[in-house]
């Protein structure tokens, strides 16, 4: 997962190569554990389940070195991050070192103590909710998961924790998007986040949406956000501005400039947390060493300085989108440098 509140970014492009030589590491997405108390159909981190996790003391040292490197924000994700016994220690340490944090959680383990700590450290909390109804949510996330959400939301609200919901849209739930956005508003979430399921980990290709389904999803999300005047955050769909118009809709784009590091449970630095291309290792190199290695890696160069093929080369969104999601291109099209296969322009339906 990516997170919803990314730090602002500054461009520093070399005028001759277009390659940014002054990238600063601002954001870490840390897939802290692959362990989980659920077994969702679309889990992308299941592929790390046999890997040894970074130990608590080492994790704390990584946060210290992240602070020295100038990191502004760490998004902890999993697996279920609240299964890490040291999660609050890591959040507390980050907070003391001036690093803001967010977590992505299924909410099962949010008791009063956890909610109070999340409030104390101002942790933006992203709750995984995969349907607008109990039936659909539990079809994806398992029996009993819906009823655990409501007490978690009550506690977050009670302790004043800012939270959003995230829906991994797939063939089982995407038709509930309008109702989902209404529900997030009713729950007083800060936003409803939407991310397409990728064919990684446990996710079967049948769950992955087709381009026409994604186009429909964007259109109805845009309409619902506008009519409800409610923020909707579109993750991993950098082509979305080709479709969306509402001022309540925001979408991220990870290829505009390099300022993010994705760390796997074992310390491997991945090109993207859904794609198994290792570009360094924070346990072996530390944060600054790994960042230097990531920046100089041949695959990083290919992703951030691409030669865009048509239709991307003619697209009004190309400066931000830069070909879209390279992980999806690799996983679906078998070509890391191909245009994003879910983009409606690429699919010639827009």
């Amino acid at each position: 997962m990516t997170e919803s509140k990314r730090p602002s970014k500054k461009a520093g492009l070399d005028s001759t190569t277009g390659w940014n030589h002054s990238q600063k590491l601002e954001l870490i997405i840390w897939l802290l554990t692959a362990r989980c108390n659920l077994s969702c159909l679309h889990c992308y981190s299941a592929r790390f389940s046999d890997k040894k996790e970074i130990e608590p003391g080492e994790a704390a040292n990584i946060i210290k070195s992240a602070a020295e490197a100038g990191v502004k924000h760490i998004g902890f994700t999993g697996g279920e991050v609240l299964l890490r016994p040291d999660i609050m220690d890591l959040i507390s340490l980050a907070s003391r070192l001036g690093i803001s944090t967010n977590i992505v959680t299924n909410g099962f383990l949010i008791n009063d103590y956890v909610a109070e700590k999340l409030a104390e450290y101002n942790v933006f909390t992203v709750l995984s909710v995969d349907g607008a109804t109990k039936e659909v949510h539990e079809k994806i996330r398992g029996k009993g998961t819906w009823n655990s959400l409501l007490p978690a939301i009550e506690r977050l609200r009670h302790f004043g924790v800012s939270f959003a919901t995230v829906m991994a849209i797939n063939s089982l739930n995407y038709d509930q998007i309008p109702e989902y956005i209404q529900l997030a508003r009713k729950w007083q979430a800060a936003a409803a986040c939407i991310i397409p399921v990728m064919p990684a980990g446990k996710a079967n290709k049948d769950l992955v949406l087709a381009p026409d389904q994604v186009l429909w999803a964007l259109q109805v999300a845009d309409k619902a956000a506008e009519s409800l005047e409610f923020p909707v955050s579109l993750w991993c769909m950098p082509f979305a501005p080709l479709v969306t118009r509402s001022k309540y809709v925001v979408s991220d784009h990870c290829r505009t400039e390099l300022s993010e590091m994705d760390i796997a449970p074992g310390g491997e630095v991945l090109l993207c947390d859904v794609l198994d291309i290792t570009v360094s290792n924070v346990r072996e190199k530390g944060i600054l060493g790994a960042w230097q290695e990531q920046r100089g890696h041949p695959v990083t160069k290919a992703i951030f300085n691409p030669e865009l093929p048509p239709p991307c080369s003619e697209c009004p969104q190309k400066a931000q989108c830069k070909g879209g999601c390279f992980a999806r291109a690799a996983l679906i099209s078998g070509n890391l440098c191909a245009p994003d296969p879910l983009c409606p322009r690429v699919a010639k339906i827009l």
Binding site: V279, G296, P298, K301, A302, A330, N335
Partner: protein
């Protein structure tokens, strides 16, 4: 036929280059020393040579040597990559095949770990 030796650690194997412009450009910059990356059963590393795609192939054979223009990298294909389907060997994106290993490519892969040094030189160069 231009022949080269590729060494990782204590393992050295022979390869031959084809007649592409890419092969000639790489031949002219020998010897090459670099630190390797691994991706499935592919070994790859960046070199200071920027070439356009000459004859892009989306799928290659075991033992092929490829040049990957998006990353200015040489790729040694010892077996399937994480995006391969079945037994095919699929690079991250198209590569120009500029040669092939003429011994068992897996010997190199078995020796290789991330960050090891690779040396490529002309066959009769020492």
């Amino acid at each position: 036929m231009k022949r080269i030796r590729i060494r990782i650690g204590t393992t050295e194997i022979k390869a031959e280059l084809n007649e592409t412009r890419t092969a000639n450009a790489i031949w002219r910059m020998l010897p090459i020393k670099a630190r390797i990356n691994l991706w499935g059963e592919e070994i790859y590393f960046a070199i200071p040579l920027s070439l356009a795609q000459e004859a892009g192939q989306a799928v290659v054979h075991k033992g092929d040597l490829g040049y990957w223009p998006p990353g200015n990298a040489i790729c040694i294909f010892c077996g399937p990559t994480p995006i391969s389907t079945g037994n095919e060997i699929r690079p991250a994106s198209a590569v120009t095949v500029f040669g092939r290993i003429i011994e068992d490519a897996m010997r190199l892969k078995e020796e290789a770990t991330e960050g090891m040094e690779i040396v490529i030189r002309e066959e009769d160069d020492g």
